[in-house]
Symmetry: C2
Subunit: 286 residues, 2 copies
């Protein structure tokens, strides 16, 4: 694995891949890698000739009250993990190189952002869209890999790629789970022993609601209520349980096409999120 | 020459060029081609293996009071001219294909827009940036060609390409002029015979000011005044005579690096623009 910090060196390496006709799988991250990231790298490894992973803690996607400085960083450990996962190039640019001088142009994400976690993170997805546009143009990937744990981010990236006709295949990868169903997250370690026992109920709630839909339920309120009832048996506080069309994230009153049921629950020291995406057409076909 | 309207057919043709390792020169236009466009195509022809020209009257760059519907269109005539100029692919997409559905993301040009013609065209360059981002991603050009007649547009495109790390060489092509120095423009036909005789004074004014700088003048006001005095001997009304750094379009008080002196003059039925870009360093080196 090569670790590249310099933008012109990255460009040179990408040109080399292109001249050899190699497909490029790209896994953009903010580092502090966990199993979720490595699953993305794995899949990229299987589907492409070369794998590029970026580690860049993007200042533009942190709000004024979100602690950019305190975001955990451990490049050395990350480099070892990325190497083991079969990454060919680990791109670790500096903030100065990614944002040189004053901005001439900015991107605003107009849709898919005012729901779920985006509602309380004004400007977050604008920052995500800007940095991904830069990274996509530098890496010129054949495929880009994102985890469905952050399904809203996947929806925003889908909008970015399709609006701008980017020549990139977006690969959305299923959430990696513990054996009991709890979505893997670096935040799980902040759960108390008691909370850890309750936490799998988030996914059980999502599954129960999906079961209801499968059984024919088409009233969004009833679907949401069923999930809430299960989550309310935990000690956590519900931030939201919401149902939308996917990936447009519009009201799912009609319950057709794909829908997403997403939850955010605050425990004493960890706020957990999870979601399930259900394809209504597929269910009706069965 | 192939005329392509369908986006997926264009992508297929571009992929073909890329697999053959061909460089692509791109000339984006709004059609109703004149000698300026053909000069761009000529240069693209000389410098690349393949030439793609687009003709797309972009609704997003027209203001509410600017007549998008009345913008002149003559695709048949344009196709003949493009073919003669050695264009390989003439891309003529529909507005529906370029802007399908509602926008998920928009681009805002934050700099280089609130001066010169941009001052009175709120949102114009946002529309230019959006459509060029789409076209660049579709055509994936090695080089993109723009005329310096609209030097502000060149400056905005320069900002777009550099901010987003687009892998494109921006080629700015000198303004094509009549023998008497008048910048070629489809609007020149709206000049009366009397105005047509006066119009070359715009360029003469620019040249005179450039001469002053060459002679050592470093006071922007003095440079602007000299140009104004000449233009005021015409029957036209000065809209602006302005001097900025180039391509940043910031105040040129220091008169260093590249500067642009630009004019806009309203005649009875035509508003003419012209500009001259002066490299102060080059002058000092001589």
């Amino acid at each position: 694995m090569r670790q590249i910090t310099d933008i012109s060196q990255l460009k040179e390496a990408i040109r080399q891949y292109q001249s050899e006709g190699k497909s490029i799988g790209f896994v953009p991250t903010m580092g502090f890698l966990h199993e979720g990231h490595l699953t993305l790298a794995d899949k990229a490894r299987q589907e492409n000739d070369a794998v590029v992973m970026s580690i860049f803690v993007n200042p533009a996607q942190f709000g004024p009250n979100e602690d950019f400085e305190a975001y955990p960083r451990d490049i050395e450990r990350d480099a070892g993990l990325a190497d083991n996962a079969g990454v060919d190039i680990l791109f670790t640019p500096s903030a100065h190189d990614m944002y040189p001088g004053e901005k001439n142009v900015t991107i605003r994400v107009e849709r898919r952002t005012d729901v779920l976690c985006g509602r309380s993170r004004e400007g977050h997805f604008d920052g995500v869209a800007i940095v991904l546009t830069k990274l996509f143009n530098l890496v010129q990937p054949t495929r880009a890999y994102f985890g469905l744990k952050d399904a809203q981010q996947v929806a925003v990236v889908d909008g970015l790629i399709s609006d701008f006709f980017m020549d990139i295949e977006l690969v959305a990868v299923d959430t990696v789970r513990e054996e009991d169903g709890l979505a893997k997250s670096s935040r799980n370690v902040y759960l108390t022993a008691e909370e850890r026992k309750e936490a799998p109920k988030l996914y059980r709630a999502l599954q129960t609601s999906a079961e209801l839909i499968r059984a024919g339920e088409r009233d969004p309120e009833a679907v949401i209520k069923a999930a809430k009832e299960i989550i309310e048996t935990t000690s956590g506080t519900i931030d939201y349980v919401e149902l939308y069309s996917y990936p447009k994230l519009e009201p799912a009153d009609k319950m057709e096409g794909k829908v997403i049921l997403a939850v955010a629950v605050a425990f004493s020291k960890a706020r957990l999120i999870d979601n399930i995406i259900i394809d209504i057409r597929e269910m009706e076909r069965i």
